[in-house]
């Protein structure tokens, strides 16, 4: 049945035996989590420990396979990119493969997913230990791992879209894990639907791209490698106008706007914090939300050809980075602050794409995955220990939860770009790019870096320092372990040469940019220290001074309100209710009217039936007269 065929794009150096093994490993990366998910849902739904073991074991297997491939590739034994796939749909001229594409980009992303994922899975074992529905949780986590790997390892647009939708579903299920909470259920819905709206554009982009991918209707393709080879030729020959391609690009960009929560579809991400914290760490910080960025990197050859679309991407990313950072100022929920920071950082990454730097974007994605997962897990540890997530009700955690605080601090520093930590390097790459290409954006990005430092500082000073009243207990080792692991990664990720792995070689360190950003960061931290730790400036007066922007920010720019207003008033009250009215009164009404007409006609006809015999005779005679006058014909 399964016709596996491996197409080594770079033919040559690979030993056939190794290639075969690599193919198996590649499949194993993708499929092990799926098998585990199915196993959990089928047999482990009431066996918690089985579910945990299966989920962690499954992802660990994927991790091992990834590492194997990674080392083979980095040692040069294995020629990348290589691809194994089966034909999922083959119908007439249409052929949709389903497979695994291994190259440097996918390997690094797979490592992020399986590596950080394994840590978070392990952490969940502790975090969800008492949860009654832990089996479902782990099943969904495994399914999620499969789904995100489907995206990451995808060889074509349709497979990417499949993974894209599946992660959306897992995200929905996991956000709504505690479905008894109405807010959680609502947040899940919101996340799914917002993503659906974005995917509407995305799938149309894919369809359109598919339809222009060849001049012959039975030769079209969704396959990345083929498209990559073919599109430039098509554009050059004029078969595909650049304008068309730009529109396609914009439509495709809709996908990341939703999945990576870019402005204005970012609204679902803060709400998604209703889910269990490990979920926030894995899905809504490290991997899934980064999938949009990954997709843009994966298909950057396409966006390269359409600078106008790249510009749009740039501005959307920059706007998201800046606006989300500002939202972090007024938020009091520990996880939501992190969520806004995630938004802002995703904005950075998208901006990097827009600036033409997929490597920088991927670099930042990787480092961000490490430290943001760390931060979320730390937050999770805090919540696990204190059952509180309002930062103003926390405080003094450095005393009660020392290890958590330490790792959280490392994460925070990496986030704000403290020199020497991973975030510093990756952010720097983006800023450099920005300065090269677009000065206003560069300034905005630097300002955003300062703002990041400010709200991160605020979070740290309020929740961890300060006079403590939070009585927390330190988390169990199974949770602390991943924290340390991630903290380590956050420190070293800047030094292991990720850009080089991704194919960037100039690596000149720009002192001016680094210094400017560090200054901005320092300023941010200082202001927050003055405000929240030293209390040198009364926060209240500042709020009064900035009343207008404050209310704007507190209401999240009213975007949620606008959407709610649209849904409640336009969609439900006008469109849906209007259609329902039309249905009830016009469509059903018309049918009823026809029925009533028949009944009425019957009643009318029966007026002849007076019961009086002479009337009957009269009608009889009238009928005869009618026949005679109507049909008598002279031949």
């Amino acid at each position: 049945m399964v016709e596996a065929h491996s197409a080594a794009a770079a033919v040559g150096a690979t030993d056939p035996a190794l290639l075969a093994l690599a193919g198996k490993a590649a499949w194993a990366i993708l499929l092990t989590p799926l098998i585990c998910a199915v196993a959990i849902l089928l047999v482990g739904i009431h066996r918690k420990s089985f579910a945990m073991a299966a989920a962690v074991g499954g992802l660990a297997t994927s991790l091992i396979c990834t590492l194997f491939l990674f080392f083979q590739a980095s040692q040069g034994h294995l020629a990348v990119p290589f691809e194994v796939s089966v034909t999922w749909i083959s119908l007439g001229g249409l052929s949709i493969p389903f497979g695994v594409l291994i190259d440097n980009l996918s390997l690094i992303m797979t490592l992020v997913v399986t590596g950080i994922g394994s840590g978070i899975f392990l952490y969940s074992v502790g975090y969800m230990h008492d949860d009654a529905a832990a089996s479902r949780y782990f099943g969904m986590l495994s399914l999620f791992a499969f789904s995100i790997l489907t995206i990451v390892l995808s060889t074509n647009w349709i497979q990417l879209f499949i993974g894209w939708e599946l992660v959306g579903f897992c995200s929905y299920m996991l956000i709504g894990h505690w479905y008894a909470k109405p807010s959680a259920a609502a947040a899940g819905n919101k996340a799914f639907i917002v993503n659906r709206v974005a995917d509407f554009g995305f799938i149309i982009g894919i369809l359109w791209l598919w339809s222009v991918s060849s001049t012959a209707s039975d030769d079209r393709t969704v396959h990345f490698a083929t498209l990559m080879a073919r599109l430039p030729v098509l554009v050059e020959s004029g078969a595909v106008p650049v304008a068309t391609l730009s529109v396609i690009g914009l439509l495709l960009f809709c996908g990341p706007v939703g999945k990576s929560a870019q402005f204005p579809l970012h609204v679902w991400l803060p709400d998604a914090m209703e889910g269990p914290t490990p979920v926030s760490a894995l899905i809504h910080a490290a991997t899934m939300v980064a999938a949009g960025v990954y997709m843009l990197c994966r298909t950057f050859w396409l966006f390269e050809m359409i600078p106008s679309t790249l510009n749009v991407i740039l501005y959307v990313g920059a706007a998201t980075a800046f606006l989300a950072a500002a939202l972090g100022f007024a938020e009091n929920d520990l996880k939501r602050i992190l969520a806004f920071s995630t938004l802002s950082q995703l904005g950075y990454m998208v901006m990097a794409i827009g600036l033409g730097g997929p490597v920088a974007a991927m670099y930042h994605l990787t480092t961000h995955a490490c430290f943001k997962a760390l931060l979320f897990l730390g937050a999770g540890s805090v919540i696990h220990g204190t059952h509180e997530q309002n930062i103003w009700k926390l405080g003094g955690l450095t005393r009660s939860m020392r290890w958590t605080s330490l790792t959280f601090l490392i994460g925070s520093l990496a986030l704000i770009g403290f020199p020497g930590l991973s975030g510093f390097f990756s952010k720097d790459e983006i800023l450099v790019l920005a300065r090269e290409h677009n000065l206003p954006i560069y300034l905005l990005a630097t300002l955003t870096a300062g703002m990041t430092a400010f709200y991160t500082g605020r979070l740290w000073f309020v929740a961890f320092m300060g006079k403590g009243h939070a009585h927390g207990h330190e988390s169990p080792p199974v949770m602390l372990g991943p924290l340390f692991f991630l903290a380590g990664l956050s420190v070293v990720a800047g030094y292991i040469g990720i850009p080089a792995w991704l194919g960037e070689h100039h690596e000149a360190f720009h002192w001016d940019v680094a210094l400017t950003s560090t200054a901005a960061v320092a300023a941010g931290v200082t202001i927050s220290w003055l405000l929240y730790s030293k209390r040198a400036i009364a926060a209240g007066s500042l709020v009064r001074a900035l009343a207008l922007p404050q209310s704007f920010v507190e209401n999240r720019y009213y975007i949620d309100d606008i959407y709610t207003w649209y849904v409640q008033n336009i969609q439900q009250k006008i469109i849906a209710a209007g259609c329902a009215w039309f249905e009830q009164n016009i469509i059903i009404g018309a049918v009823n009217a026809v029925a009533a007409l028949a009944q009425g006609l019957g009643r009318l006809l029966r007026l002849f039936q007076t019961g009086v015999v002479q009337t009957y005779v009269l009608v009889f005679v009238a009928g005869v007269l009618w026949l005679i006058t109507r049909y008598l014909a002279v031949r």
């Binding site: 009944q599 006809l605 029966r606 039936q609 015999v613 009957y616 009889f620 005869v624 049909y631």
Partner: protein, 470 residues
């Protein structure tokens, strides 16, 4: 004249006297047995009627025993047998003396048998009168029931007027042709002459036959008579009388009026449309089952007229099949009505509430018979309607077929209203409805026939194709 041609009619005629004698000489207590005697007579006649046709040249003269009559005579006799069974089931409502009733039924059947063989307008007139006279009396047979008398009165008056018109039409036609035999009329019309007098005469004759068939606008008597007359009589009116009218019309149209088919075809077509719509729309709001069946029977007349209007051999065969299907379905319906009226307390639709809880088998049979009347596969009525519609389409009368088809859906509505009463509504009492064994047997046979004709149509259609050759 060869008496063997008249063998079936002779059987019936002789049995009239047997019945009369028995009615006189039987002790009142034993008069129950009269119905079996009557059944025996019908049985003998039925056996005789099933004898194969004598092979020979096409019959001439007033009276012919040809394929058409050979096909229809057993049907009339079967109808009569069913009606006799109905009177058994209907006994509680009937007056004490059943003897005259059977005699009248036999004379009526005699008229119908004659009509299936006519070759002459005189015989057409007399056959119709013979058929109808008995029915006037039978309609008014429940002397203590005001509605029955009213039905008899209305039927009588309209019947007399219609027969007066018919006779006047025959007179005009005679004046134009100089003879009353179908052959002479056919020769006259074939010569290309179609005088106004002849046309008027034909129209009046058609009106008279339309009265029997209940074609609009000659149908007004029908709902009232159906509602008022005793149920077995209504059954005979609905099946025997209508079928007799249809046979007479068929013979008239195809034996006498064939040369001017283009002239009468549109007339019948417009009558057909009016009849269909009147019957089916009129039935929509009915509350009395017999009245509803009356309107529905007008609707069925519309389909018959549609077949006639098409005026091809195929359409005549379709009509013959339609009549067969209509016969089995309607008789089944009336067997149930007759059996149930007394125990249910009346023949309003509401009286049938919850019948399926009381007598599931009876309700199921009713369901099947009604659906067959509506024309739903796999039942007999469906094939009948299909054949008629096909013949209409075959003659390029797509619009006519379209109206006929839409009427199927309309009629389904009111049939289902009956079904709703039986199956959905709650029964007033849980006691089952008792049905005499003979009626039950007949009912079972009819239901089997409904299914059999609906599923294995081929033998029936072959029989008709062999019989109906003009």
């Amino acid at each position: 004249m060869d008496l063997s041609l008249l063998r079936v009619e002779l059987c019936v005629a002789v049995w009239i006297f047997v019945l009369l004698a028995a009615d006189v000489f039987l002790a009142p207590a034993k008069k129950e047995g009269l119905s079996w005697l009557a059944l025996a007579g019908i049985g003998i006649a039925l056996v005789v009627s099933l004898q194969p046709l004598p092979i020979g040249p096409a019959p001439t003269g007033l009276f012919a025993l040809d394929g058409v009559s050979h096909y229809f005579k057993p049907l009339f006799l079967a109808t009569a047998a069913a009606v006799i069974l109905m009177t058994q089931a209907f006994r509680p409502q009937m007056p004490q003396h059943p003897g005259p009733f059977y005699v009248l039924l036999f004379t009526s059947v005699l008229g119908a048998l004659i009509l299936s063989s006519i070759q002459d307008l005189i015989l057409l007139f007399l056959g119709l009168e013979l058929l109808t006279f008995s029915l006037y009396i039978m309609a008014a047979y429940l002397k203590t029931d005001g509605r029955s008398v009213e039905a008899g009165m209305k039927y009588l008056i309209l019947g007399s007027v219609s027969s007066a018109l018919l006779v006047y039409g025959i007179a005009l036609l005679y004046g134009a042709v100089g003879d009353t035999s179908f052959a002479a009329i056919r020769a006259f019309l074939a010569s290309g002459e179609l005088t106004l007098a002849a046309q008027t005469g034909i129209l009046l004759v058609l009106a008279g036959l339309g009265f029997k068939l209940a074609a609009v606008p000659f149908q007004l008597w029908l709902p009232d008579v159906y509602e008022g007359a005793p149920a077995p009589v209504v059954a005979f009116l609905a099946v025997g009388s209508k079928m007799a009218g249809a046979v007479a019309l068929m013979r008239l149209l195809f034996l006498a009026l064939a040369p001017i088919q283009p002239w009468w075809s549109p007339i019948l077509a417009s009558l057909s449309v009016l009849t269909l719509l009147y019957g089916n729309l009129g039935a929509l709001g009915q509350r009395n089952l017999k009245r509803l069946l009356g309107y529905s029977s007008i609707g069925h007349a519309g389909y018959l007229l549609m077949g006639f209007a098409v005026g091809t051999l195929d359409s005549a065969r379709a009509v013959a099949f339609y009549l067969l299907a209509y016969l089995v379905s309607t008789l089944a319906v009336f067997l149930i009505v007759c059996a149930a009226t007394d125990e249910l307390g009346g023949d309003d639709l509401d009286h049938y509430a919850g019948l399926s809880r009381r007598s599931p088998g009876l309700a199921a049979a009713f369901f099947i018979a009604l659906l067959s009347l509506a024309g739903v596969p796999p039942l007999a009525g469906f094939v009948g309607k299909l054949l008629v519609l096909m013949s209409a389409v075959a003659a390029d009368r797509l619009w006519l077929a379209g109206i006929g088809a839409v009427n199927v859906a309309i009629s389904l509505y009111y049939y289902l209203m009956v079904v709703k009463r039986m199956y959905v509504d709650a029964p007033p009492s849980p006691s089952p409805v008792r049905v005499p064994a003979a009626s039950l047997l007949a009912l079972g046979a009819l239901i089997l026939l409904i299914l059999g004709i609906g599923i294995c149509q081929a033998p029936f259609l072959s029989r008709i194709n062999l019989a109906l050759i003009f």
